[in-house]
Subunit: 470 residues, 2 copies
Amino acid sequence: MSRAMASRGLWCYWTLILLYGIGLCAAFRPPRPYLLGGAASAAARRSMPLTKIRPFDTFYFTQVLDHFTFKDAVRHPEETFQQRYLVNQEFWHGAQKAGPIFLYCGNEGDIEWFAENTGFLFEIAPRLGALLIFPEHRYYGESMPFGNQERAYKNADSLSYLTTEQALADFATLITDFKKNLSAEASPVVAFGGSYGGMLAAWFRLKYPHIVIGALASSAPILQFENLVPNDIFNKIVSLDFKEESDACFDIVRNSWSAIEALAAEEGGLHILSAKFHLCREVCKAMTNLPDDFDILSRIFAGISVYYNFTGEVDCFDLSADPHGMSGWGWQACTEMIMPMSSNPNNSMVFPYGWDLQAYINGCLSTYNANARPNWAVTEFGGQDIKSVLRHFGSNIIFSNGLLDPWSGGSVLEDISSTIIAIITKEGAHHLDLRSSTKEDPGWLVDQRELEISKIRQWLGEFYETLIVI
Amino acid sequence: MSRAMASRGLWCYWTLILLYGIGLCAAFRPPRPYLLGGAASAAARRSMPLTKIRPFDTFYFTQVLDHFTFKDAVRHPEETFQQRYLVNQEFWHGAQKAGPIFLYCGNEGDIEWFAENTGFLFEIAPRLGALLIFPEHRYYGESMPFGNQERAYKNADSLSYLTTEQALADFATLITDFKKNLSAEASPVVAFGGSYGGMLAAWFRLKYPHIVIGALASSAPILQFENLVPNDIFNKIVSLDFKEESDACFDIVRNSWSAIEALAAEEGGLHILSAKFHLCREVCKAMTNLPDDFDILSRIFAGISVYYNFTGEVDCFDLSADPHGMSGWGWQACTEMIMPMSSNPNNSMVFPYGWDLQAYINGCLSTYNANARPNWAVTEFGGQDIKSVLRHFGSNIIFSNGLLDPWSGGSVLEDISSTIIAIITKEGAHHLDLRSSTKEDPGWLVDQRELEISKIRQWLGEFYETLIVI
């Protein structure tokens, strides 16, 4: 066993912990959150059959591959791709009445999965007479440039058009054309999104105010860049969540690192780790349900499994597998969506590690051959002094966050102005508000959604005041 | 003489009229305007020696060629270029005091020329303790991707990065780095620009509010796209200007078209036209100074010459020559900056012509091999229902316009909100406010500039209120 292998084993482990940690001890909270840019969503989708429970029609739009350059039209005749989008218009008030359009900003995955898991929109559409549209994010699901995923993901050149700016321009282009085709130019559009999709929704409102009148940005860590928030905030919140739930749970995780290190250093230790974590072929149950005589690693695995394999139908975790194109997020995280993370032993149960930008950049270069631009996101989208900058600029954005969600640490948690507001729920998880309501929903969640609806109603009302409906 | 040649002759003629028309009868008004995206500036610069009358230092910044894609860093190691920028910091209050930075958004030409001709900034810098920075627009002057102009302008692929979005991202990237290097992160930046540069300034504030606290957008026709304003507005204003100045002058131009048509149709007629318009080698005087026995064509030429050759030092007009890289505007006008124009015989003295989008697109394709996107500018930058869209969004933009300027027809002429305002001068010409003051300046021009300064002072004051200066 080389040290390199040992550290690779550890890497896998803490990646899992890092990404799914929030769920470990809060597993009972329905519905289960998926996490930004991690394989959690892929895993969830892998185990969740795409039976269509939400009614929508599927369409494809011929989208411009590169909105920001104009290449030789003769040499590059195929500078377009088919962007998928889903539409539900059964509740729409129609173009004549300038009925509203609710646009979900597709994130890093198959759009059907996001549509299925954004029940909030289907619940409010009939109340507000809205048409729903879910454009898929380029390079995910079926919306592949160059004809198919294999060609789209071939190398850095083919991946180079996978950027947030291009995705926002896709939404702008698509919705403009969509409205024109329906003669619905007068209809107001509201943007929605959760996690990375929430970042897209907020930025869409900020960059394209002529296209969307407002945005509900749920669990959108738009400040998780450069040094806008402390690097250790994510793992600090994860750890606090664990601690709050149970000190024992927190200790199990915190103490597991030395056990892993010791095991990894032993002859054959990585094989044992691999088996423990079912890195090939086993089934599992939740950590805290295990009898007392189970060891720490087994408990950790059980905890992870709640999220990574919550149907119990997956036998193993193939950490390199990527059945749903989620590695696109790896590319994005290595180019412009560079979110510094560290784990500080003073406040974190996660294996301690620092943020080493240069190592990160080198890793991205060797993995993708792409030049990471760690300062670009803040240059393009801002975030520094956000309260001063947006206090007299912009309007109609809701930043909603649950404080149990570690991504809340990089989000906007205070009102910026009377119309750019923060809605905080102490017990909320990752964009819980966008999920379908259930009978078990606590009162604060019901209230949160109603508050969001009242704000959206207000945006629409103000819009219609200035509009002479034909 | 083929019909194609005849119409080419006419085309040249009305292009000249179209671009320089405003000057013909208003020639005495100092200082002389240059016009958006036309060869007028090139001509002016050709005849104006670049003797440095304004003090500035010249620097170069390694700029990202394509901000919105991430190509293979190994295969494309040279994805950068040297962007020139000029700096004057003699009046700056300094980083410690968070002294303001005034950024002139370089337009379609050599930045030295713009710096020389934007005396307003040099006059207000000492009053407000501001540092001045003039970044050059990519693909103009010395700021050439691919090492030199010949390679940059080689074909559509090399030109493809010449877009407004890339230019704005250049400004954002440069000024962010510039401030960091000066430890001036706390310094507020105000954007300035005239004509296309004014459009850049307004859009810079709208798209990058975290980078500039406000913008003075002088003579910025941000609405001259799609059908936001009538296609014929430009020629209508040109014609009204002429008519207001003198009915005789208006009639000379209006009646010249039939004379040209008749001449062009004759055997050898185009040679005569060519000679009349000094399309090779002659010198000229102003139209209205000519003795009565001069014919219409000679008078027209004399009028044109006031602007196209106002020093009288140029012997001829080589319509294809482009000594200052101005053909970059042709590329921009053929890709995203597509401004519909027509001449309506009911209100225009200019040769009547309609706006034929398809013919325009075909022309651009055959000229540049580029796919024109006529709707893109409005999708990206907005403009439709601008009053409703920006009434509760954005702040701190001055749209200044002189109503004699035909570009005012595509600009913002009414206040949008209490902080996005229009300053109109009935007798003003193309971004006259940005020029140096002179003893002959009329009262309204002095007042206009003072009003602009007071607004900028107010933006700065509000910024400093929220800032704790170290």
